[in-house]
Amino acid sequence: MSETALLRVENLSKTFALRRSFSEWVTRRPGEVHRAVDRVSFELAHGEILGLAGGSGSGKTTLARMLIRLVEPDGGGVFLEGQDVRAAKGRDLRDLRRRMQMVFQDPYSSLNPRMQVGAAIIEAGRVHHQPGSEDPEAFVTHMLDLVRLPSTIARRRPRDLSGGQRQRVAIARALAVGPQVLIADEAVSALDVSIQTQLLNLFLDLRDELGLSILFVAHQLSVIAEVADRVAIMDQGVIVEVGPTAEVFRSPQADYTKTLLASHPHPLTIVESTQKEA
């Protein structure tokens, strides 16, 4: 185990019980279980962006949620700078969650619809007594600035914003509590391509400016290719391959990775390849 790792995940597991059938119920046999995440281990270094890719049902979202115990793991461990997340309670757990912030997929439901943008950001800062939060206006302006939004947005409500703007607000709110790790769970998947690019660049900027470590969960390999230093490919609850992004994508080892890469259309490569054929 290298000591440089900021976040260390060891043998993390989660199984969900399926609903029992009538015969199982009568005979009191245990029902079937679904292994959503099966003994997964990985590390995230300081200032690193790790991509986590997989199809739907691969367990990547469950894994991401277990890191901050939005879903309780059944086994294994999560350690932030050596501190055991699974053992933490109350104040300690809240502080660990503060240090690992999450950005969700759907920008339309991740913000409280009744709260102004500025109020949501300053609330986050105040709850954790973040430096600068005594001056709400400056604090909010600074946070919005970090995500490249004008401070005029502070008085708007989520419904007045576009999807991309909402996602930036969600990121600003996450930054307001001073995290070390950002978990982006399909954070750009619901957005249009042109907006996606802007957000991807924002994540790269945040890593460079704030030294954030980012776990970037996505089903699109090409999106991960744009931002991730390393990539982990997940299938059926297991990480089937992990390594530097360029290496994994140029010479994939696992069959599943190969299938994923093969079914990925990019207009220019397709056009090039058809022209070569012709």
């Binding site: 576009s162 391509v193 042109s194 802007q198 790269l204 360029a246 990925h264």
Partner: protein, 333 residues
């Protein structure tokens, strides 16, 4: 002669306090047997535009057009009866979400058979036999068993196959596929696109593929129509448009698309700044003017119209050619 010609298409939603135009003068054509892609981001009006072909408008939406002609017949002038016939026999359609597209309380096979009974006049066992044939033709394993399944018991990919079976049951001349793979995994996506392509080759029908994903379009289509803010901004052969995009929006869109090639390069893409337009806020002029790096005052008064740049390639921007500003453009028309 073109199978389908649409021109001057406008679609507006009426609501309290007025109406909002979301399609603002669109033209495109589909030749027999070819696959045309309609690409655009959310709010571009592509989904509504493709529905105009069978006049399938949602509540509170009204369409007008100078021309919607299919196979030599005027779709706009069709009576209710003729329109039903047109929908039943000439055009098939599949939708984005293969789950919500089925009656949840009816067995899958029943839904296929119902279409055959109503539209092809088949009865009882004949309808069932034909339905089973159709299910087999879209590569559904053990169709007898699937026939009795309810929609929620099938996977997304399987449901989309059944949807295709229903859509092609009357051997239509055109298949409209509205984001057919958006709700599916990438691996399933490839299979569904393959299936559509295979059916097209066998039956000689044309396909109009609507998608937000340029990758899907490039993979499956002969020609592409790019939409933005309710307008067609560029159209042409896919290879030509990808290699030599003319409209600044198309250039920006293509350069935004993430690529596996970027792996390990750590280079930021230029992309397109700003937010996609809200149809209610759009005024006269080029819809892309607010986000365009090469905008000039005349753009705000531009009458959006397509100009040829050779080889069936058209663009709605008179001021930029191959990314270079044209000094002596056709002026404001």
């Amino acid at each position: 002669m073109a199978l389908l010609t649409v021109a001057g298409l406008r679609i507006a939603f009426s609501h309290r306090g007025g109406s909002t135009e979301v399609v603002r003068g669109v033209e495109f054509a589909v030749e027999p047997g070819e696959t045309v892609g309609l690409v655009g981001e959310s709010g571009s009006g592509k989904s509504l535009a493709c529905r105009s072909i069978i006049r399938l408008m949602p509540a509170h939406a009204t369409m007008t057009a100078s021309k919607v002609e299919f196979d030599g017949r005027d779709v706009l002038a069709m009576s209710a009866k003729e329109l039903r016939d047109h929908r039943a026999h000439s055009v098939g359609m599949i939708f984005q979400d293969p789950y919500s597209c089925f009656d949840p309380t009816m067995r899958i096979g029943e839904q296929v058979a119902e279409t055959l009974r109503v539209n092809a006049g088949l009865e009882g066992d004949a309808a069932k036999a034909r339905a089973l044939e159709l299910l087999e033709s879209v590569d559904i394993a053990s169709p007898e068993q699937r026939f009795r399944a309810y929609p929620h018991e099938l996977s997304g990919g399987m449901r989309q196959r059944v949807m295709i079976a229903i859509a092609i049951s009357a051997s239509p001349k055109l298949l409209i596929a509205d984001e057919p793979t958006t709700a599916l995994d990438v691996t399933t996506q490839a299979q569904i696109l393959g299936l559509i392509e295979q059916r097209r080759r066998e039956s000689g029908m044309a396909v109009l593929l609507v998608s937000h994903d340029f990758g899907v379009i490039a993979q499956a289509c002969d020609r592409v129509v790019v939409m933005y803010g309710g307008y067609v901004v560029e159209a042409g052969p896919v290879a030509e448009v990808c290699a030599r995009p003319q409209h600044p929006y198309t250039r920006g869109l293509l350069s935004s698309i993430p690529s596996l090639e970027s792996a390990g390069r750590r280079v930021r893409r230029a992309g397109i700044p700003g937010q996609p337009p809200n149809p209610a806020d759009l005024v006269a002029g080029c819809p892309f003017a607010d986000r365009c790096a090469q905008v000039r005052p005349a753009c705000r008064e531009l009458h959006v119209a397509l100009e040829g740049v050779g080889d069936g390639h058209v663009t709605a921007c008179p001021y930029v050619r191959d990314g270079v500003p044209v000094t002596n453009a056709g002026g404001s028309r």
